[in-house]
Amino acid sequence: MAVIAGTATAGERQGLLGRLAESPLARLVLRRVLVAIPLLLAVSILTFVLLELIPGDPAQVAAGLDATPEEVENVRRSLGLDRPAPERYLGWLGGFVTGDLGVSNVSRRGVVTMLGERLPVTLELVVLAFVVSLLIAIPAALLAARKPGGIADRAIMVVSMTLLAVPNYVMALLLVLVFAVALRSLPAIGFVPIGEDPVGNLRSVTLPVLALAVPLACFYARFLRGDLVEQMNSADYVETARAKGVGPWRVLWQHAFRNSSFGLLTLVGLNVGGLIGGTVIIEQIFAMPGLGLMMLNGVGSLDVAVVQACVFIFAATAVLANLVVDMMYAVLDPRIRYGHR
């Protein structure tokens, strides 16, 4: 028996890889990438145009408020800001394609370097928020769905509904009020790099991560709970499981949740954009040196290269997230993975 089982799984694995290579999956990825390229191109053009339209003189900003007109002109020339717009854009694009993301008007530092410093911060915030939101949402939804209409369910629904109505910046301020001001247990602002002090790092990101994660968790929990309850009430395989004598928690997890996970996955994927957008304001409130703040400052100081780089990363991530969701569908759903008879 074991031999047969072993052969089956190995064969299965091999089959999977083989199928992936020339599979609909690979074609899906390719197709999406091809569509994404013009999309991101359009996004970069839009960014450029918008920045051009914002009133203000980037050379002035770069040179400083108390610079003399000659200094401003010098700066303008050195930054290439005196060239016509299309030329500037194409110059940037050319550099972008070859990996040269340009230089910040304000700090004169390479954008790539800046990204290197600031991307990990935002990444840490986003990843942690993502994980925490699911860690809160899934058990909450399971608990609520276990006895629909019961105390746990109603409490969780009321709390999640209320918290959902709290904007993330208000949530952030409230968290600061409670934990930083009143309890003085967590820092209100500032980021401690993980290399320096792991514990300090975690402490410094706790409040921003919570501010990001809690509204998302509420959203996921509500959706998941609804889906689970619907399945527990009407899905035929749930009835079969019960008829087998399977206990209610296992029915909820093994049968209902496994089928709900697809919907949840889609929702999560669609929300990646929102999660990233949230970092902009959260980083501002908590003074986190991440991409969001970099972009915000860049817009404020008309720092084209900086803004382009940040916008690109944000947009590309949203597109990538959608792609990953579709891919995960293909991997997780046996109906897609093994095809139909």
């Binding site: 914002i54 509904m161 109505a165 009020l177 001001v181 957008g277 817009v299 947009a315």
Partner: protein
């Protein structure tokens, strides 16, 4: 349990208990839509009619001598802020601004977005693809950045805030309108109308619109909350309603500076935001449940 006398148990379940259950269900249904609707109504009333009816001091131009007065001070029910302005008055006027923005954005969104989306879905083909691609670009663009950029280009003011927020509401609603239209277009009665030779605008108006409007309205109701919050975010960042005119967002921003000293200055507008968004969300969700028969 041995055999139970059926006449006893039968009676125990009939009319009485069952009817009570039904009555309670009806009451709950009414409450669950009625309460948030009432709250929303009250909010609108207070914010729009309040300044005309209630004896509120001016929301701006407060005296430096009256800063940070606590709630309950005579003449200032909720106290004053760091600039000496009456908090309650700022809340009411701020609510007026925030609500106006939200309503305007949603109206524009539903009308414009609905039109674009419905047309796109109905026409299909090349037009549809082009419009969808354009919308995709707008949607892929980080929304807050788009709004911020537009707000900066146009300059902070109430109408400009409306425009900036519409830039991200219209594509979102257009998408919903399009998918709803696609679903409706395949239905037999629309095919019948087309075959009968009805011009495209009539089909849109008489057949498609009535069928997608409920969904869009529902989205708009839920979107009220989102728009109010985003307007708050804009004002918080200094880009929305320009100071010194109040909006809940910039009140929160100002309050942030004295968070540890006078937390109430942040809490009042936050509470206002919370209640408003909650009421709209509940109204939207429960109306939808009611209409879809749950």
């Amino acid at each position: 349990m041995a055999i139970v006398d059926p006449s006893v148990t039968g009676a125990a379940l009939t009319p009485d208990v069952a009817a009570r259950g039904a009555r309670w269900a009806r009451i709950r249904r009414r409450l669950v839509v009625g309460v948030p609707a009432a709250v929303v109504g009250l909010l609108l009333l207070v914010c729009y009619l309040g300044p005309l009816v209630l004896p509120l001091p001016a929301p701006v131009g407060g005296s430096v001598l009256e800063t940070r007065l606590p709630p309950g001070t005579p003449g200032h029910l909720l106290g004053t802020d760091v600039n000496g302005n009456d908090v309650l008055s700022r809340l009411v006027y701020g609510g007026r601004s925030s609500l106006t923005v939200a309503i305007a954005v949603n109206v524009i969104g539903v009308v414009l977005g609905g039109l674009v989306g419905a047309l796109s879905g109905y026409l299909g083909g090349r037009a549809d693809t082009i419009i969808m691609r354009a919308l995709d670009v707008l949607i892929a663009f980080p929304s807050l950045v788009l709004t911020i950029a537009i707000a900066q280009i146009l300059g902070p003011s109430l109408p400009n805030t409306v425009l900036a927020l519409s830039a991200f509401a219209v594509p979102a609603i257009a998408r919903i309108a399009r998918s709803a239209t696609l679903r409706v277009t395949t239905m037999p009665f629309v095919q019948a109308a087309r075959l009968a030779g009805s011009p495209w605008w009539r089909v849109l108006l008489r057949h498609i619109a009535p069928n997608i409007v409920p969904q869009m309205l529902n989205f708009a109701l839920l979107g009220m909350g989102i728009v109010i919050v985003t307007e708050g975010a804009l004002s918080f960042l200094g880009l929305g309603i320009p100071a010194p005119a109040p909006s809940w967002g910039n009140m929160i921003f100002e309050g942030q500076q004295s968070l540890s000293a006078v937390p109430l200055l942040v809490l009042w507008p936050s509470l206002a935001l919370l209640v408003t968004v909650l009421a709209f969300n509940m109204l939207g969700e429960n109306l939808r449940d009611e209409m879809s028969g749950r």
